[in-house]
Amino acid sequence: DAGVTQSPTHLIKTRGQQVTLRCSPKSGHDTVSWYQQALGQGPQFIFQYYEEEERQRGNFPDRFSGHQFPNYSSELNVNALLLGDSALYLCASSEGQSNQPQHFGDGTRLSIL
């Protein structure tokens, strides 16, 4: 039973570029959340997708956008990259209507030069 998978594992971009990160949820999960984790900090909630719609959003600018596909997989897009966007981006999946814990992928390490 595959867990949450994310791709790519590492990415290097320059300021002003855009990036797309991908996530496949754990089997049986229909909800995907994205988090940004800066070095030495806890994960910060970006947004959550359920039934192909953004259900909740954290305090992130519109440069951060996402999408969920009918198979529940998800993408995170970031436009006009800034140096401060360098971080580990984590995807987590869960069952939409339960209090069961989220399961996390290993993340994508994004470095902005």
């Binding site: 949450v4 959340s33 988090y35 030495g40 900090q41 806890g42 994960p43 910060q44 909630f45 959550q48 359920y50 259900r55 909740q56 954290g58 580990l88 984590l90 987590a92 209090n99 069961q100 814990p101 989220q102 399961h103 996390f104 992928g105 290993d106 993340g107 390490r109």
Partner: protein, 111 residues
Amino acid sequence: SQELEQSPQSLIVQEGKNLTINCTSSKTLYGLYWYKQKYGEGLIFLMMLQKGGEEKSHEKITAKLDEKKQQSSLHITASQPSHAGIYLCGARPSGTYKYIFGTGTRLKVLA
């Protein structure tokens, strides 16, 4: 808004020693989750606590949620090098779908 504060920020212990990590919330918790993270990797779910006074154990790790549901502790008995990593407490504030996390406790176990 609700926040989670963890202490200590870092911990270095000798193998075999016991240790405790604390997580304090500014508001009542309606579910407290403990995760472990190896450096630069994803979060691994450890335990979930929902009821005041609840206590759960898995192998040598025990987690408790106090009666007022504003503080949780994670206790490791007879620590091993495999316990090293970053321990994070997380919660889902009432009325939201997002998780909030503490800043983590970095544990190093010396062999």
